[in-house]
Each structure stands twice: as C-alpha cells, then as structure tokens.
C-alpha cells in the first residue's frame, strides 16, 4: 500500500495532479448546484408574489383603463 502511494517516487507530482482535477470538477459541480438552487428559490418567490399571471394582468389592465377613462 505504501508502495502504491509512493508512486515510484513521483508521488509529489502525481497526487497533486489528481487532487487538482478532483477539486476543479467537484468545485464546478457544487457552484453549479448552489446557483441553480438559489435561482429556483428566487423564481419561486417572484412567481408566488404574483399568482394567476395572464388573467390577473389582463384584468388589471382593464381596470386601469377604466379608471383612466373615468378620470378623463
């Protein structure tokens, strides 16, 4: 086992190579998942604060126009 970790005397070059590769790949994955989760949460909050979208928007627009016309 010790012989395996010694890598024929080149342990100081081989293990950092594999460690760096693992670090970059895991790091990118973690950053990706974190970003995805936070955007999912933001989107949920945004959509939650404005339920049934299209109809509500159209009705609001109708009311607005009616109010504007009423003012005029």
């Amino acid at each position: 086992m010790a012989e395996f970790f010694a890598m024929g005397g080149y342990a100081a070059y081989i293990w950092p190579s594999y460690a760096l590769t693992a670090l970059v790949m895991v790091g990118l994955l973690v950053a990706t998942l974190k970003g995805l989760r936070s955007r999912e949460a933001t989107l949920k909050a945004l959509e939650g604060s404005r339920p049934p979208r299209r109809r509500a928007r159209r009705e609001a627009a109708v009311h607005e126009t009616a109010a504007e016309m009423g003012e005029g």
Partner: protein, 240 residues
C-alpha cells in the same frame, strides 16, 4: 434544431438526459480511476508519472472540445438568434476554463520531473495558455454589459475570432520544435500508444465528457431560470 429553441421543451428533454449523464460520469470515473492508478503499467521511460496523462490529456481534449462547441453555438446564436445557443456558451465557459486550467497545471506537474522544467514558452503551451485567456475573456465580456443580449453578442464574436487558436493548438507540435510530444492517439495511421494505456485514457475521456454533459445541462437550466427571473423583474418594474 429550432425545436429545441423552446426552453420548456428543452428542459423536459434535459431532465431525461441529465440523470443518465450523471450516472455515466460516476461509473466511468470509478472504472477510469481504477485503470489509471492500479490497472495500467508504469511507463518504461517515464515510470509512474505517465499516470498524470490520464487526467492531463482528457482535460486538454475537453478544453478544445468545449471551445469548439461554444464556437458552433456562437455561430448558431449569431445567425439564427437561437436563444439556447447563446445560453449554452455562457453555461459551458466556466467548465471549459476549468478543464484548461487542469490541463495547464497537470502539464506543469508532469513537466517538472520529466522535462526538468515547470514551463516553457513553446507553441503548444503558449497556445493553450491563450485558450485559457480566451475562456476568461469571454466570461468577462459576456457579463460586462447591462443588457445581457449585447454581452452575449459580443461574446459570440470573440468566440468565433478565437477559433483560429484551435488548429494552432492541435498542430503546434508538428509546426514548431517543442518539448511537448506530438500526438499519439488522434493521428493519421492510428494510435501509437500501448493498448493497456489507451483504454484507461479513453475511459477517462468519456468520463470527462459525461461530466461535462451533466454539469452543462444543470448550468443551462440555471441560465434559463436567470432569464425568467430577469423578465419577471422587468415586468414588475414596469408595473405590468
């Protein structure tokens, strides 16, 4: 191609592919690492340092592969205004930059014991460093505009201009004298590398590709959500 311009349809397809790509990544990495570290012999000249090849070479291939994919997406995005093509480049860039960094550093770690130097300013190493800066430049440029559409457009132009670097990297070892060895796998006349080293190399290359697919699909989904968030906020700000 335009069938996949619809983000909802793309997200459904991506949700099917992503778990398979993630599973393939794990299986291929386990097999690949076993073969690289236990299942393959040391080189008769380079000893165990040849094991650095199993991460260095696939990382280099991925660095080129990802860039070429981004450049194709840039062309598609510029010509057909394909929204997902633009988001793909944005999603893939950090992964490509990561692979390029891995390639450069592991190359250094391999060069130190075998060449007796960490770095030389020869054609292969320099053009690879330029590729790394192209990735970083693209990422900085895309995010430098208030209007994301303009940023993506500028980034796409940079990606297309930078494509000239790809054949330079590939053929640098033939065109110039260099410390770096010439191609031994992807070459005319077939690979010159021993089969028991070629197999772990290819398994690791497939593992890196599967990793790229699974991560880029997640990142693409994240970019689509970011666009949605932006649209909702704009609508809110305009009182609609």
């Amino acid at each position: 191609m335009h069938r996949f311009a619809n983000p909802a349809r793309f997200l459904r397809l991506s949700a099917v592919i992503q778990p398979w790509a993630a599973g393939a990544t794990v299986v291929l990495l386990v097999v690949g690492l076993y073969l690289s570290l236990f299942g393959s012999p040391p080189d008769y000249q380079q000893g165990d340092t040849v094991r650095i090849m199993y991460v260095h070479v696939p990382a280099a291939w991925m660095a080129l592969f990802v860039y070429v994919n981004m450049a194709i997406a840039a062309a598609v995005g510029l010509v057909w205004k394909h929204p997902l093509a633009d988001l793909f480049s944005k999603a893939a860039a950090p992964v490509g930059a990561g692979f390029t960094a891995v390639c450069l550093v592991t190359g250094s770690l391999w060069g130190a014991p075998m060449w007796g130097t960490w770095w030389v300013w020869d054609a292969r190493l320099t053009s690879m460093l330029i590729l790394f800066f192209l990735y970083l430049g693209y990422m900085a440029l895309v995010n430098a505009f208030d209007d994301p559409e303009r940023g993506v457009k500028a980034g796409n132009v940079l990606l297309l201009v930078g494509v000239v670097n790809i054949p330079i990297i590939k053929f640098s070892v033939d065109w110039w004298n260099t410390l770096h060895q010439p191609a031994s796998v992807i070459r005319m006349g077939g690979p010159t590398i021993a089969g028991e080293m070629l197999v772990p190399l290819l398994v690791m290359a497939f593992a890196f590709t599967a990793y790229f697919v699974s991560v880029v699909l997640l990142r693409l989904k994240s970019e689509i959500l970011a666009r949605k968030i932006q649209t909702l906020r704009l609508n809110d700000a305009q009182g609609r």
